[in-house]
Amino acid sequence: MPLSSTVAANAGAPRRVRPLARRLQRGDQIAHLITLIFAATIFIVTALLFYELYTGALLTRQKFGWSFLSGTTWDPVALEFGALPFIYGTLVTSALALIIGVPLGVGAAIFLAELAPLGVSDGLAFIIELLAAVPSVIYGLLAIFTLVPFLRDYVAPLLQSTLGFLPLFQGQSYGVSLLAGGSILAIMVLPFIISISREVLLAVPREQREASLALGATQWETTWNVVVPYAKAGIIGSIFLALARALGETMAVTMVIGNDPRINLSVFAPGYSIAAAIANEFSEATGDMHISALIELGFVLFCITIAVNAVARLLILTTTRKSGAT
């Protein structure tokens, strides 16, 4: 980081619009326009996707209306379709993935950025990035033979003996479960959280750290009270990426989640996620109504992503405003 660390500045805060008028030359306008065009492509692609899903789901929307969301039966033979168990499974596994993945990922990023020598840190980060390239199906197959028995034989009994009074941790454990789905997701989102958080932490100017250390803070206090808040926006950004990935991950989850469309409070019970349902049934579905129902599931997932992002964005807005004030 030869350049960025030489100058101290507050980059974490949202940039103000600068008095550009006098600099406004042709080049600026062209650059603005070009980047805008490319940015607009993203919007157009997303809009097109939204439209495709919306029209593809016409048949089920006409038949079931809003009851598609509250229905709990999924019966391709009787053509009765309800999405609630899938919505529940998607939300629970994604939440579990973040609960497990975020502390682990941010912790590792802090270690790599603040403590490890740069060479080691670069090497390890590089290795972790490779995790993002492992095909889903390999994660899934490995998980069946390692993670699933591990959860069934060790983790479940442990949680049941300590926290078994909670309904979350009751019932028989088969191994394949919401917890297994959440755990494999946590592992899969780690590279996104770690690599991006680490880069953001490394980009924090050295002066910030030095000022804090000079005031007598320990290294951890400097990290936790100065560096991490400074990099907060970037870290939250990485968590967004992770969340989006978790919501949409298919192949690995479907191999370990149990694929049972019933709502169970216990995380040891099997469940089902939206993406898994689409992946499982789309390629073999032949009836128009069945296909339409699967596309509507995709549409529902899209809407969940919209909602989850809205909530998270609100969260960011409030937190960055606070740190922006300092």
């Binding site: 033979v77 033979f145 149990g258 099997p270 073999e284 032949t286």
Partner: protein
Amino acid sequence: MKTLVSVGVLAFFCVSCADSERTQAEAPPADQVLINGAGATFPYPIYSKWFNEYHRKFPQIQINYQSIGSGGGIRQVTEGTVDFGATDGPMTDEQLKQAKTKILHFPTVLGAVVPAYNVPGVTQEIDFTPEALAGIFLGKITKWNDPELKNANAEVNLPDKNIVVIHRSDGSGTTYVWVDYLSKVSPEWKSKVGVNTSVNWPVGLGGKGNEGVAGLIKQTPNSIGYVELIYAIQNKMPYGKVRNSAGTPLKADLASVTAAAAGAVETMPSDFRVSITNAAGKDAYPVSSFTWLLIPSKIQDQAKKKVLKEFLQWMLTDGQNMVEALSYARLPKEVVAMEQKAIPEIE
């Protein structure tokens, strides 16, 4: 910007070197025929074997088959994005009506679905009555030492443990064959659950693919599921006998599957769409099925039409000699003869 350029250069380098590699490896002859097909997963090994052999025999012909699922095969051939399809369950009348050109079914090989289990302490083969299988998959028989199971297996020391049912979560021809059988032997299954490539399972855990189900069965004590015969053999999984319509307990093998097909010969309709689960005959394994190629009756491209017809002829003769090595059962002679008569229907 520099990086963009360098990434581009790198990419270009990759392509150009890869291109030269290809031209060296394979100079395509002038009259090359490329044919694409898609569909069922279950016959993928034998199809890839056939198309490979055929390419070796006629290097200018490349028939590319991709296993995207039976439903996918039916849809793609209906929409005309592939030259032929393949399926484990015959197309329904309604589906046939949707296709622009008439679609012909050609049976290729036979397969069987077996009940595979993992019951610690049980080394003998378990003998399943139709009632026991239906009861287990309906969630009515929940213990391994249920009287229905015990009566049929006097010598087996069945434990007093809960049965964990494992089924396919992905829509599949395997599921279609299994539930088709269950609905033939159990009126309750027929009315409550029905037949499809995906159903609303009354009980159990879902595994993705044969591999997923096989993995779950191996990993879960006291579990039972259904997989294709090849998977059970290749994975060395214990699987049970099933009592057929004559009451004979039979283990699935090439002979008993072929017997089921032989039983269907007399009733074989001219369009080959037939279910042979719970077939008559005392040697017939009851959970057997054909798998089909789906070929449009009108093919515009003359070269493709010629190749497909010749391939079908080859598949019914030389091709059949390769199937048993891969644990598929070959077609009965009578069916082969019927199909050979049907080939000219492709125009």
